[in-house]
Subunit: 317 residues, 2 copies
């Protein structure tokens, strides 16, 4: 039997899974990243985590068909390098070399949002579809476009930086990347939190001031308790996401646009507002040709994405 | 010898050309569309125009390898139908049937902006490139995306309706399509003309009031004569185009973004403003990976586009 291995590398944890060639997970493990310990230590923990899932099913290295790694940040896929990634110690780092040398198995690296798009395409809401657009709204905003079964890569492998699409050119809200009024600055979990913290400090007419630690979850809770300021903050952020979705539908005319990430798990208020805003900002015949759906993978998105990357690597071998 | 035929169908004129299989034009003709005479009459004129270019090189119908037709409006490529097109009499009209029946030759229909993108890719600034984005700014704003040599089609063949991407969601300027603040409403030739006509009527401090017929050409002329109001109108429109270009680079990470159409022929002021605005609104590493260039085909864009459509039809046969 041959196996795929997927590694979902994150700033706080490393998740790994081993699956059959169809992507059915047979064993998985989660360990802390301990990013502060530096490059070598984190690489060692990645290797150990892969060994763990191999042991879980009694697989030898020779039985591994492909290893797929999803990582945050900017990657150079051709060279297998992580160019830069927030919350990880890697800068212009060749991550594939040590993995390949250790397991003597083909290995491929992909940005985690692109990986998630592939995961959704192969194992989630994209099954049987030609094209799929995936947008994840959590701490940041990212995504990927799968066109005719292939990831849209662009000339340097960095296509679909959807979080940095300008949505409101007149906005004075700046993104950590330096741009003003991009989707991440207006609608990410960080953006929602920032506005809620400001409101808690500056306004007296909000329940938000009752919370000691504010995240989008608390903003949603305050909204459910009838807080108008929280409603305003969430509706504004989600309306902007709807405009972004409209633009993506206008540009890609996809069959399905999948929305994932922690902020999307707010549920009805998120989807109703996003879909309403997308409809208002899109030509009818394009909007009507696209389904806007919640992720089909939920918390498995990272692992399933990494396995999809491995699967694509195997298919393109 | 085998030939390609390209037909560039427009609201005022029908241009046709016959070329060798590499797209080198051997003979061409231009006749008025006379759209007011109705469907049948226009189809007859299209057939006649194709016969004219065949006669020009002494080609029999059996020597035609493929006919490509570029048309404005919304097309259903699979069925070969023009669904709707401003300034043309066709509504849900099967244009390919009469052409195929007359010449007994394979024939393919494409939206003219998509056709132009293919033309630019095969015969203009896209030669040797993997991906190319084409945006045309004239009466309206359109374009096409060529990814890995293939036109991005989308699920219903209507991808890349770039003119209807929302650029300023707070704008009160409405597009003919009904949307507010889309690229066409803010930056098309029609938009520039509208704003200039309003300024000529409402403001006394502009040279625009000296013109009896205002088009973007007159606005540019007034700008060159030092008119500040004209400068403001042009800079605003071109800045918005730059934001759209930034978003396209952010989403597609293309090697080259080609700008064509009548408004782009304004030249330096257009390109300097668009490129400056795109740079300010885009991540550096994505902006730096893309060349923004004027069209390499100029007034031949329509014909070369239709021939590229024929060429792609032949290649995919």
């Amino acid at each position: 039997m041959k196996y795929l291995v997927g590694v979902d590398l994150g700033g706080t944890k490393i998740s790994s899974a081993i699956s059959d060639l169809s992507g059915n997970i047979l064993h998985e493990t989660v360990i802390p990243t301990l990013a502060g310990e530096g490059e070598e230590a984190v690489v060692g923990r990645i290797l150990g985590s892969i060994e763990d899932v191999m042991k879980g099913v009694g697989a030898a290295a020779s039985a591994l068909a492909f290893i797929g790694i999803g990582t945050p940040g900017i990657v150079n896929k051709k060279e297998g390098k992580i160019l830069r990634a927030y919350n990880l110690p890697f800068i212009d780092y060749d991550l594939l070399r040590p993995v390949r040398e250790h397991f003597r198995c083909p290995c491929i690296l992909e940005n985690d949002a692109n990986a998630a798009a592939l995961g959704e395409y192969h194992f989630g809401k994209g099954e049987g579809k030609k094209d799929l657009i995936y947008v994840t709204v959590s701490t940041g905003v990212g995504g990927g476009a799968v066109i005719g079964g292939k990831l849209l890569e662009g000339s340097t492998g960095n296509a679909f930086e959807v979080g940095h699409m300008i949505i409101d050119p007149k906005s004075e809200i700046q993104c950590t990347c330096g741009l003003y009024g991009d989707l991440e600055a207006l609608s990410s979990g960080t953006a929602i939190t920032k506005r809620a913290v400001n409101a808690a400090e500056e306004r007296k007419d909000t329940l938000l001031s009752q919370y000691s630690n504010i995240t989008p979850k608390e903003v949603h809770e305050a909204y459910q308790r009838g807080d108008k300021v929280s409603e305003e903050i969430l509706l504004e952020a989600f309306t902007y996401i709807g405009i972004a979705c409209a633009n993506l539908i206008t540009l890609y005319n996809p069959e399905v646009l999948v929305l994932g990430g922690g902020v999307s798990s707010i549920g009805d208020l998120f989807f109703d507002t996003v879909i309403g805003s997308a409809r208002r900002n899109c030509l009818d015949f394009l909007f009507d040709a696209c389904e806007i759906l919640p992720s089909g993978l939920g918390k498995d998105t990272g692992l399933k994405g990494a396995l999809a990357v491995a699967k694509m690597g195997l298919l393109n071998q």
